[in-house]
């Protein structure tokens, strides 16, 4: 570990409230240790703003170990910043150079209104899950865990899809602000497991309909979502969603 520090110019989106107008404010962030994480850099800037009598920058964060999915802003045009498969909290300042200008904006999507500064309302993702991102089993109903074998490759693929942290970077990265990667990850997880099959058709139709109703864009296969996903979730899940949807629409009894 080196103990270098760098000076940065930050351009941060400041917006006092959901209805207020926002704009990019410029801040000088001097003496930022390169071993600090991006969020710790924001902590330092906020500390200085507070002591200068100004209101600190509001940003969402919690676990700071890349799993809760709460952090995430667009850094120089990239959700979670420039490193691949890295959440903002795991991005470290050593990936920036002394003198860099860093533009920090909230995710931009009609379905993710800004609440304040860099804090967005991502409850649309919860609504997509509510539409069918579950298996309808009540506590106590389950059969013995090993009564239904699941092929290992299917279980592994399901786990790949289930790794989604619900941060919304896929939507932020998509030129169309489409939520297909998020939705397809959940549909895939359950479509791959025998436990999820009974409701697969209903789930695919309901989740897609819900997603459409929330104001997300349409997938046009730009693949930006896959490139920016901090968990490396593949667009092959989107193809699986497409298959599940076609099957459900054309073959199942669901209307």
């Amino acid at each position: 570990m080196s103990s270098k520090s760098i000076n940065l110019t930050l351009k941060v989106w400041r917006q006092p409230g959901s209805k207020a107008a926002g704009r990019l404010e410029t801040y000088q962030a001097d003496n930022i240790p390169t071993d600090a994480s991006f969020l710790e850099m924001l902590d330092i800037v906020n500390q200085r703003l507070t002591l200068a009598g100004k209101e600190p920058i509001a940003f969402d964060h919690d676990c700071r170990e890349g799993i809760c999915g709460m952090c995430g802003t667009v850094v120089n045009g990239r959700p979670h910043g420039p490193e691949r498969e890295t959440t903002l909290c795991q991005l470290h300042m050593r990936h920036f150079k002394d003198g860099d200008t860093v533009v920090i904006e909230p995710y931009r999507a009609r379905a993710f209104p800004v609440i304040k500064d860099l804090v967005m309302d991502r409850s649309a993702l919860d609504q997509i899950i509510m539409a069918g991102g579950f298996i309808s089993v009540n506590t106590g109903q389950a059969a013995e865990a090993n009564s239904l074998p699941v092929p290992k490759d299917k279980a592994d693929l399901a786990m790949d899809a289930a790794a989604c942290i619900g941060c919304g970077a896929c939507i932020a990265a998509c030129p169309n602000a489409s939520a297909m990667l998020f939705t397809s990850a959940k549909i895939s997880q359950f479509a791959l497991l025998p436990q999820g099959r009974p409701e697969a058709a209903k789930r695919a139709l309901a989740m897609v309909a819900c997603m459409d109703g929330l104001g997300f864009g349409n997938c046009t296969n730009h693949k930006e979502c896959e490139m920016e996903c901090p968990k490396g979730i593949s667009i092959s899940n989107i193809a699986r969603l497409n298959r599940e949807f076609i099957k459900a629409a054309l073959v199942s009894q669901e209307k």
Binding site: R84, G215, C219, H222, K223, E228, N242, I246, A249
Partner: protein, 215 residues
């Protein structure tokens, strides 16, 4: 049939319309190119290909109707998608960088599509047997005539290149949309997209040169 309408109005449904009509166009491009390559056999074989094609009669008309319908669906759906997608991000990013997913082709699909639509108009106006009288002049003479016109030649070559770019994203994208993404085949389909785009560009692009050289 409300279920069908509902299905086709969803985002995934609309994408299916785009993909299936798109795949039809790809099929059309294949046959169109294969047929037209008969020019390499000299004017006679070229003319004979055209005559055989026209001899199909109602079958040809049926194919044309299907293509026209496909075109209408493809264009209308594209327009809807374009505006929906714009509305999904009302505030643009101040800095917008790619993570390496989008390509020039994928980003320009609506625009290349629009240009192709215009090109199809010009192309039909200058070549189609419905518009251009093919009873007095054969197709080789028509082609020679049209391609001798420098302005049209430029439009044609540009059109072909634009089609190639559209196809470069469209081909693999259509497979992905209909759900055909398999780890064993997808890498091949993605390469095929590029190869096919090059074939389209070179294949169609070479036609005027051959025509003019045989003049």
């Amino acid at each position: 049939m409300t279920w069908l309408y509902r299905t086709l109005s969803t985002s995934v449904g609309k994408k299916q319309l785009m993909a299936i009509t798109g795949l039809l166009f790809l099929l059309f491009l294949c046959t169109h190119l294969l047929g037209n390559l008969s020019i390499y056999g000299g004017p006679t074989s070229f003319v004979s290909y055209a005559e055989h094609l026209h001899a199909l009669g109602n079958l040809l008309v049926a194919a044309e109707v299907i293509m026209a319908l496909a075109l209408i669906i493809h264009v209308i759906t594209a327009v809807v998608l374009f505006f929906e997608n714009r509305a999904a991000r009302p505030i643009a990013y101040n800095v917008d960088k790619s993570g390496g997913g989008r390509t020039f082709s994928s980003q320009t699909m609506p625009y290349t599509g629009l240009l192709i639509l215009g090109f199809i108009g010009v192309h039909l106006a200058t070549f189609s047997h419905h518009i251009v009288d093919q009873t007095t002049r054969n197709i080789f003479l028509i082609a020679t005539d049209v391609f001798s016109h420098k302005g049209y030649l430029a439009i044609y070559l540009l059109g072909v290149i634009i089609v190639a770019f559209h196809v470069r994203h469209g081909l693999w994208s259509a497979f992905q949309t209909v759900g055909a993404n398999h780890p064993k085949y997808m890498p091949f389909i993605q390469k095929l997209s590029i190869v096919f785009a090059v074939i389209v560009a070179l294949g169609f692009g070479s036609l005027p040169l051959v025509v003019l050289s045989l003049r």
